[in-house]
Amino acid sequence: MFCHIFLYRIKELLRNPWHLAWNLIFPLGLATAFFFGFGNLIKDDPEQFTTIPVGYVKEADQPFDQVLTALSKDRKDPILKVSEYKDEEEAKKALRDGDTKGYYIQKGEEISVVVGRNGVTSTTLHQILKEYENQKRVLETIGKKHPEKIADAVKTMEKGQEFLRPHVFNKYTSVYMNYFYSLIAMASLYGSWLATTMLSGISANMSERGKRFESAPVYKMTSLFAGILSTVLLQGIFNGILVFYIQYGLHLSFGVPIWQVLMVTTVGGAMGITIGVFIGALVKKRGLQMAFSLAVSMVTSFLSGLMWGEIRQIIESHIPVINRINPAAMLTGCLYNLGNYGLTKNFYRDLYSMVILTVTLLLVSVAILRRRNYDSL
């Protein structure tokens, strides 16, 4: 029964011209439009990673010196090109003159970073300092409590740094890729339309077809999960086509192995589907379902940077909680972090947020939809 419903749902949805247009063709068209809009900017992006010239104002020798030295050497394309300045005024002048993108400054035990403007460079400089501070704190704690284990801890951290390198300093990503990340998020959330269509076909209170379906001897959960799985698969395929098109058709790199991107976009697709299931569980009228799905997709995609690339960063600086609850921002952030920094804490935070949101909405929706008779039809 599960397979029967699953296969027919796939057939039914794949032949639906409306869904093909909005869930597949429209995102591909928009990706093409973005490409013609600023494709060259992506390829020649000044923010695309090159060695970052950075200033350093030091008062005394510190372990941070070694970090900067390590990042300036030992690589074909060094991450940093460090110039030392005797005081902050000199460093500021170099920043103003464009000789550096920012500078680190020691004030006693504290080290801070000053950057020219927001972007990948500034994020990278902040990230380096943050990593250093984290590691320093951990080492200090171990040194106090378990001095005999300090050598092992240093080794572990060195490994961690190696792990970080190939991603943090990816050469091929661009800030303009944010638009494509948001586009993928929007396409994923369009999955909610697939879900509402699927739901209307199995719920007696939504359509005549649903009445006929619920008159049949079919377990509600069987039909619901067969429907959800079919839509997740379809949306996953649509997302995959979009990702392949961006990477191989438009030659814009995600900067990481494509299977990692596909994994993230599949989770994103599943999230879009469960949002649709949730909307379908709450709203009975088909027109309203479509309106809610569209509103959720567009508003969240806008806030994730679909039309204004920097908005997600601005929200992150001022009201980060919005990015934590915005599904499109979660997916955009996930792809951004993956492409620029690899499998970091922030990447997993966004990935887990998507998974948690998906599972939560699914459980709530199932609780609502599991009823099999209605007060009115």
Binding site: H4, E208, R209, R212, S215, P217, Y374, S376
Partner: protein, 313 residues
Amino acid sequence: MESEIVKIDQLVKRYREKLAVDHFSMEVRQGEILGLLGPNGSGKTTTINCLLSLLKYDKGNITVFGKAMRPDAYDLKGQIGVVPQNVAVIHTLTVAENIDFFCGLYIRDKKKRKQCVEEAIEMTGLGEYRKYYPKKLSGGLLRRLNIACGIAHRPKLIIFDEPTVAVDPQSRNAILEGIREMNRQGATIIYTSHYMEEVEELCSRIIIMDRGRNVAEGTTAQLKASLKNRETIRMDLVTCTDEIIRDLKEINHVYEVKQEGEQLIIRCDGGTHNLLHIMGYFEEKNIPFGRVTTELPTLNDVFLEITGKELRD
């Protein structure tokens, strides 16, 4: 005694303040075609939705095949076929795929299912349209597809909810003949409609519904026999006097005489040769008259007499 397939006992269904079904009871016996007749909004579809356990209801009991009907009574649902009022098919599947999909919800065995689908296609005359998508079908063919999707799994009980609404006469006749054929093959049928001619023509027993209540039931003959009015005679008359009306009322079995424009309407409560007696009166008095028609009672008369309003209202 014929066994009882469906029993609805004192069913009550409210939509907030509105009482949609009011202590409605009915039985459906094996092998019969039961007509559920009533004007739009009389509670027919609500009753059917309660019977199928799609709708919650406030009071009453419903049993199907002797067991309580519940939303999870899958063994019972498997023996029921439903043809809903509006066409309920999938527009991105072909005719054959639609029938196969809905049939597959009841029959898992692929070989058996294939056979059932073919039979349903043949019975509804959709053979040459099997690869058509529903949007390419005419209204009548769509209705046939709607029926095929509901009957392909060979149910023992089939519920038709106004299947001929907005259907051309040719398709309508084909649908009614198809229903008779299914009944001949052993299916018990519940047929809801507000078209009294259809119900009269098709059904072996009729229940008349009004405002959610069972107002009358029986065979067509039984329902008509319960009427006071057995014959209505209409006569075109240029001049009608009070004396004529008084004289006519004195004729045996005439119980009502009234004038509507230039037409005299005479109602009789039984007897034979009423028309002859009335025409004899006019000839005897040498009163000229025009066209004369006589009508036997219809189900509309039954409805009118019981509820005081026309079924067609």
